[in-house]
Amino acid sequence: MSALGVLLCKELHATFTSPIAYAVGTVFLLITGYTFSLTLFLSKVANLTYIFHQMYVLLVLLVPGLTMRAFAEERRADTLELLLTAPVREVWIVLAKFLAALTLVVGLLVMSGTYAVVLALYGEPDWAPIYGGYLALGLLACLLIAIGMFTSSLTENQVVAASTALGLSLMLWFADAAAYLLPAPFDLVVVNLSLIGHFTTFVSGSLFLSDAGYYITLSLYALFLTTRVLTER
């Protein structure tokens, strides 16, 4: 097994033996399950658009709680020094933590897939927005986790790491609001930085490479910065 595999096993073990994962998972599934049932019975419309937007908000709020431990805990327990003096590249350490957190979030999204199954059993949903919505949530999760990894690499205080990640995510969410105050072409730049702007097109069933590129580029940039922080230690 490669160093990445060994690190990933350790991170998955740490993730799934931590109460944080189960607390976050329970909150996520309870709230989305409640909302799904309520909207289905009230509207009797076979789509998940509302649920996807709620999942978007929940991920923005909950992912910092998942990622705050990533490096902050390693620093606090003095284990980061062990990892950084072991014969592994810093990028593997970052990727292992990223993939472990992503596994948990994707697991939650897969469990929420039962809502789509229910719609398929009792109705005829339009599948394009559902596929697009899940793809958007997966890409959103990548970006939020990468941001959380970065802020966690900067401090040994988990609360500081979580609140900074939340702040950055919220700033990205509302980035387009600043467009009204800025002259061209800066207004276009901030509009294109908007987290929600690139999300809603997916949920409406339209897939644009530019939207996927936004999430992928920012995720890679955040992971790159995290690796740089570790390398510069």
């Binding site: 350790k10 740490a14 931590s18 003095d78």
Partner: protein, 214 residues
């Protein structure tokens, strides 16, 4: 003259800023050219696995940090397995190495215990065991007797001396008496600068040498 199979210690005022010194030894020949060259020229420490290949150099080094590291979710056996596998050992080799190293540092009694339940003395042994599991050429110990009670200090000192025959041990300490009892050679550093390297056999008064150099 190589450092391999010798026993060295480094000294300095205010704890020698060991955090800077220790990782620095592994990847910065510029910072410690004299030590680097000795390792470079030594029979087992051939240049190929040090110069320009930090990962390969790290593979040859075992490191015991001053602050004892531990994962709350791991047992002793799991932690040692993780560290062995992380350093590229196969599962079979890791299992054999862990068995050997546990016997060597007397960890068999707590082999399946969660690390967070162990005393500081046992955690020190676990930290040393993880650094030995891949049979390093160089073992680096950062303030290994800090925070230990007198019995644990004696046991740790004996353990270090027993290990000296199998690999080079570089130990940082600001306790002169401990260095005199443990080491064969001493290097004195001040703010990352190497001020001198002496054999303790040629140094009748370590305190006087220390004061004269710093």
């Amino acid at each position: 003259m190589g450092l391999i199979r010798a026993l060295a210690a480094e000294l300095g005022p205010y704890g020698i800023r060991a955090n800077m010194v220790m990782p620095g030894f592994m990847d910065t020949e510029r910072r410690y050219p004299e030590w680097y060259l000795e390792f470079h020229d030594s029979p087992r420490g051939s240049s190929e696995h040090v110069k320009g290949i930090p990962l390969e150099a790290r593979r040859k080094v075992g490191y015991v940090p001053e602050a004892l590291p531990w994962y709350t979710h791991m047992r002793v056996s799991e932690f040692l397995t993780f560290m062995g596998r992380l350093r590229g050992l196969s599962p079979e080799t890791t299992a054999m190495a862990i068995e050997a190293v546990s016997a060597r540092v007397h960890l068999q009694d707590v082999f399946t215990a969660p690390i967070h339940t162990l005393s500081r003395g046992y955690r020190q042994r676990v930290a040393i065991a993880q650094a030995l599991v891949h049979t390093p050429d160089i073992l680096i110990l950062d303030e290994p007797t800090n925070g230990l009670d007198p019995r644990q200090i004696i046991e740790t000192r004996n353990l270090i001396r027993a290990l000296a025959g199998t690999c080079t041990i570089i130990m940082s300490s600001h306790i002169l008496s401990e260095v005199e009892r443990t080491a064969e050679r001493v290097a004195i550093l001040l703010r990352g600068q190497l001020l001198g390297v002496r054999a303790l056999a040629d140094t009748p008064d370590l305190e006087a040498l220390f004061l004269s150099l710093t």
